[in-house]
Amino acid sequence: AASHFTQMRILEIDPNHVTFITLISGCADFPSQGKSLGPLLHAYTRKLGLDTCNLMVGAALVDMYAKCGHVDLARLCFDELKEKNPVTWNTMIDGFMRNGKIREAVELFDEMPERGVISWTVLIHGFVKMGLFEEALEWFRKMQVSKAEPDRVTIVTVLSACANLGALGLGLWVHRYALKKGLRDNVKICNSLIDFYSRCGAIELARQVFEKMGERTLVSWNSIIGGLASNGFTEEALEHFDLMQKQGLKPNDVSFTGALTACSHTGLVDEGLKYFDIMERVHKISPRIEHYGCIVDLYSRAGRLEDAMSVIQNMPMKPNEVVVGSLLAACRTRGDVELAERLMNYLVHLDPGADSNYVLLSNIYAAVGKWDGACKQRMTMKALGIQKKPGFSSIEIGCDIHEFVAGDKSHNKSEDIYSMLELLSFDQALCGYVPEAMAKDMLGNG
């Protein structure tokens, strides 16, 4: 596109606003190249006075700067606009959210003369993108109070927030809402629903949605396969994987992640390797980190730690926490300190800041009684200033999300909660359960 533009210039054809919009959004979509080209284009439009007068060009510019990470410049452009319409506002809010500037985004949102569905959605979507799911849902509620009707995009966004929080109650409500609005057959919404239900562990509901769908896209299949796999329904997941192909759909990398997860869940080593092989050889999909993760998990689970180690050492990308975690956890169960140490040495080169690996390794030391080693790991963590991530658990009761950390006493029913736990521990003791007092709880999840 850029070279075409140059040609246009050479041919002295005056570019009009459509040209610019196309070009600028082109830059926005490829930030790395757009970074250099964008400002040039901006300068050119400025000359023509398009940037402040033409709304669409202005919006495109704001979008471009925001996507390139220059949110301050985006704001400048925005402020200079002579006229603003909802699109420019929304673009600016999106720009702020994209760059993590929540306060600015919210302020701007409050300043807005009219807030449409899109503005709300942009804001909620921004929160979801940043992993602030509770906030997203809070804004969704505000949206409802303001009587704005959520559209399908909002619904998809909210469902993804619910999926992450495990807010089954709210999600069910959204599902009902979608049905009421006649969005029963909307494929995107159905796909989100499948994903949402399976991420809440309500696999039965996910299955129902899937069965009732009139048309299914690749995403629908991937969602159901992944859902079945992560919930431990291995056979069914693999059946769906085959069925999908029989219906003429070509599996993509996500489908294979699903199938591999299914295998790793029940320890089907040979099958897993077979799928991995087919993926590369037949479907020409180059494996991504998730796929390697599954293979490592498979081997670790089957007790073939050396094999897992060699996969980690030979994979073409840096192993992430998940991949390493699988193997380390297996080392712990097997008490293989030597391998764990080797693995850690390998990892420290790659990423010295990952906390969970230190925790795991020190747990391994503790498990085999090497207290010195355990302490050393903790010291190293301290010295490097690595803090372990605090663990928390949440549960949804009647559409409220309740979150707890270990030893939490801030809940207003904490007295009842603790007496219930004590009662449980009595009964557990009767069942022969003795709490495993291990190093883990000092260092571990909590």
């Binding site: 207290w371 658990s393 707890f404 270990a406 709880d441 909590g446």
Partner: protein, 380 residues
């Protein structure tokens, strides 16, 4: 908001709302300055069942011209009693300019309804001290107070006092009152005995009361017995699709005579190969649950560690889930890190104890805990 052209709401609107039983809207109208009539208060006092509403209506009543009306004040006592706020009822009662016998009765009855039988009985002592003349109705209230306080002796004492001191001959309601006293105090056998000794043929109401208490206390034989008698009064009262009572199986000396209970001889501890017990024995030998002491950190005292384990966040979330939902409902927990091994073990056992499916999503996978097992097959 109502359109500007509509006339301002009047007392008629309020009365209509009261008749329709719309408490909320009625209170709203009063908030907007509509003055209620005596009729309105009358029906509002009847209808209020929430303390919040009761308080509001009472406030408006105190501002009204009817605030001295005894009948309405009595209604207020009843209303507060119904809302479970005896402190408020008591305040109204204490500040009433002139009480009648009804006020006393209501007060005692409401005390009884709110598990404050003792307070009710104190009120009755006051009645006597003030020299008021108790009636049959008074004693009915007193007996229900006795029932509420589960004080059997006093119940009988007051029953006697009624005819001896005040010359009131007991009616069916008083006898029923005594049965209430016995029934609520869990004196079922005594209640049966009392009924049999009644100076008149027990009526169907009496058997119905007995059946009610038999049900509450879970004595199905007594329940069946009274039911049989009720049906003999009125065959239409036979329950159409009653489940037949299972025959009792008392291996004891009353139903069965000595030495006949030798089944155990024939069922002696010979082990069968499919015996659960045998299986358990085998499993214990081959890697059942053996507490792993290897993990005990020597520099931390045991108790603190166990505490820390016990109060891991997922367990707190589960405990909260338990106390907030009905039995056997599955719980879904989301955890941001991996579930620790000990919690995994503990939750497995928990799922069996509490009889629920516990679904835990950690950052790695789903764990569907059910009946002491986990879908992840102990790999996590």
């Amino acid at each position: 908001p109502a359109p500007a052209t509509a006339p301002p709401p009047s007392v008629n609107d309020l009365e209509r709302l009261c008749q329709e039983g719309k408490v909320k809207q009625a209170i709203e109208l009063m908030d907007n300055g509509v003055k209620a009539s005596a009729n309105c208060f009358h029906s509002l006092f009847e209808m209020c069942s929430k303390h919040e509403d009761a308080k509001k209506v009472h406030d408006y009543f105190l501002q009204s011209t009817f605030r001295g009306d005894v009948k309405l004040n009595n209604k207020v006592i009843k209303m507060y009693g119904k809302c479970g706020s005896m402190a408020d009822a008591r305040r109204v009662f204490d500040h009433m300019p002139d009480r009648n016998m009804d006020s006393w009765h209501l007060m005692i009855n409401e005390c009884a309804n709110n598990d404050l039988g003792d307070e009710g009985l104190e009120l009755f002592e006051q009645i006597k001290k003030l020299g008021l003349e108790p009636t049959g109705e008074t004693f009915q209230a007193v007996l229900s107070a006795c029932a509420s306080a589960e004080s059997v002796e006093e119940g009988f004492l007051y029953f006697e006092e009624m005819s001896r001191e005040f010359g009131i001959s007991p009616t069916l309601d008083h006898y029923l009152g005594i049965i209430d006293v016995l029934g609520k105090s869990a004196y079922l056998n005594e209640a049966v005995e009392y009924i049999e000794k009644l100076p008149f043929e027990p009526t169907v109401e009496i058997w119905e009361a007995l059946r009610r208490y038999a049900r509450s206390h879970g004595d199905i034989d007594l329940e069946d017995h009274s039911e049989e008698l009720i049906v003999s009064f009125d065959s239409s009262k036979a329950a159409a699709n009653k489940i037949p009572t299972p025959p009792p199986k008392k291996y004891n000396l009353i139903s069965m005579l000595e030495g006949k209970n030798r089944v155990t001889e024939f069922r002696n501890p010979t082990l069968y190969k499919d015996d659960e017990k045998l299986k358990e024995l085998r499993e214990m030998k081959t890697g059942g649950y053996v507490p792993d002491t290897r993990y005990v950190l020597h520099d931390i005292d045991q108790e603190a560690k166990e505490q820390a384990l016990l109060y891991h966040s997922e367990r707190l979330a589960i405990a909260y889930g338990l106390i907030s939902t009905p039995a056997r409902m599955p719980l879904r927990i989301i955890k941001n890190l991996r579930v620790c091994g000990d919690c995994h073990n503990a939750i497995k056992i928990m799922s069996k104890i509490v009889g629920r499916e516990l679904i835990v999503r950690d950052n790695k996978r789903f764990h569907h805990f059910k009946d002491g097992k986990c879908s992840c097959g102990d790999y996590w």
